[in-house]
Assembly symmetry: C2
Amino acid sequence: MALIVQKYGGTSVGSLDRIKAVAEKVAQACGSGQQLVVVVSAMAGETNRLFKLAEQLSEAPYPRETDVLVATGEQVSAALLAIRLHALGYPTVSFLAHQLKILTDARHGQARIKSVECPRILQALAEGNIVVVAGYQGINDNGDITTLGRGASDLTAVALAAVLKASVCEIYTDVDGVYTADPNICPKARRLDRVSYDEMLEMAGLGAKVLQLRSVELARRYRVPLVVRSSFYNGSEGTWVGEEDRTMEDVLVSGVTLDNNQSKITISGIEDRPGLAARIFGPIAGAGIVVDMIIQNASADGRADMTFTVARNDLRRALELIKTIADEIGAGGTRFEDQVAKVSIIGVGMRTHAGVAARMFQILAAEGINIEMIATSEIKISVVVNTKYGELAMRALHDAFLGQAGAEAV
Amino acid sequence: MALIVQKYGGTSVGSLDRIKAVAEKVAQACGSGQQLVVVVSAMAGETNRLFKLAEQLSEAPYPRETDVLVATGEQVSAALLAIRLHALGYPTVSFLAHQLKILTDARHGQARIKSVECPRILQALAEGNIVVVAGYQGINDNGDITTLGRGASDLTAVALAAVLKASVCEIYTDVDGVYTADPNICPKARRLDRVSYDEMLEMAGLGAKVLQLRSVELARRYRVPLVVRSSFYNGSEGTWVGEEDRTMEDVLVSGVTLDNNQSKITISGIEDRPGLAARIFGPIAGAGIVVDMIIQNASADGRADMTFTVARNDLRRALELIKTIADEIGAGGTRFEDQVAKVSIIGVGMRTHAGVAARMFQILAAEGINIEMIATSEIKISVVVNTKYGELAMRALHDAFLGQAGAEAV
């Protein structure tokens, strides 16, 4: 009998009517002879409501206790779905993290899963139950409640699918799959039928919000087939996320992403000698600031410019650190730009096709868009442009590479 | 260092402002050098809100899952209080039932505590923490969440006080103690400084809502001194509930209670032979209906009348059963009255004083109130009267026995 893991996000269980609808979907899958493990998020808005309560009692709510608080959101959803499934006549058992020993490290609010025990799930399934699991939560070595970070019910689902060797992990959400671009910006964006783990990782990391980044990493590591679907309507197969196969290479570009919240810092006139990059980026990393793109271009006089991007939220803190460092290493000066956007095209086809970058630059030039930075990986090309050109760049690239369904298929 | 257990009820933690006020109270007690274990209920209204969600999804919400749902109420309160205490600078650790192994039987919704483990509490206290515990919840042998019944956070507090050998268990609520009668009905009702476990048990069982019945039983069994106080204002010592001592015997009557939700059933013309009472009350008990007072008076012709009271909610079901039974045993007939009230006077002094019953009947007769049934125990006399006389009877008895502070003290 096939075992599948389903995960329903916050909007999918956002009201009692939605929970009834989810129960119908689960019952339907159960009726077709599958063993079911269902992971649920908190009802939409509930996690924010709980965080706000904590913030009204403390400027910096104590992390261990905040986790005890917010973990109730998923507990309520799990219990309500189980109650509804019982009412429909389906034996169901809900489990919380401490019952499944979803063991994590001790980093409250952003814990990482270390191990999961599945005997209780297997026993409950063998006894003919549907199993409902509260997502987003774990326990540390002390048995204290931890949470895995926002959006991490995906992670719970993928971890369970990996441990249980489920045939598929179905992620139900409020969109019907992964799109070639954000449809709010690119009206011609269309749903992808299939996408590789690597492409999905780049898309998740570059701001596509359909799947949580860490859950895609975990799915890739354990070869868990994912499918992203809408819980709001049937009739779409959604998007499969899985191993790369040869047909995928026929598609040059699978998606275009835009990150509008970037800023750029340049340190100029750096003496070009070993160890300086570490000297610059050590303190930045130490302050918990994520540096995205880094470009260094050496000039003829032995001095170099170093340019890098950070999220706009981190700009002020990064600048303070950089000014001190620039003085210490005797750099010529620092400058920044806080209105930049990163536009990327992603596709495993790039591995085998040449000339994609050149074509990308031509498309942007034709729109009169100046490229400020370029970074490439095997399956991705990113450019930094002024924020005001971000959406235009995205649309131009999308329509050229992906404008017509199947346009890039050979 | 003295260890005390405090319990705050739903109205005491009913809002964020109330939680702030409770945190101040706890901090104050901590500042005076005591080790503190604080048990909290769900915020007022929260448990009802959760039950209502379940009822909208199922006519008969599955008990195991309902417990998973409603246990979140206390979890939220415990986390919020701990967050606030941290914000005030007091190291605090919250615990849920599964962390303390508050082991119960498997009767979801009305589980009974079997054992509690306290190493985690003792360790947290030794490390200088305030300990906050979510009341009302336990786990069964499977590690599944159970709940202990409405109002049972009192029970959690008393159980912890017993296991930890606390010097006192302080029950904070929205009234400032145990009263001689319901002040809404008896304007002259006054707070008792001291009351014995036995008296408190009779009062709790007879409808005084200040303390949950089972928590008083547990306190008596383990000799846990209780004190009932208001969390809303200081300046009152509250009511101590403890062992009976000689001074208590000087007080003839400690309290007057009224239960207005009674009904009365009579089976007449029963052949007076052994086994008939069991024949009658077996099926009633089997249906989960609690019978309170039972009176049988044999008549000269070998036939008897049997009269008993049940809660008005249970009357219809009880009557259906009784009519069948009456036919089967060849009784003369059945009749009922659904508007009766039970008025009781309670006091350990009755053990050593004669004539209390006679005086009670005189007081009621002087008011023209007809007594329909009488039942007595060592420290209690109850009478059943027509509901319309219930409050009048209560006031008359209260004012005669307890009208002036210390009136009955010798």
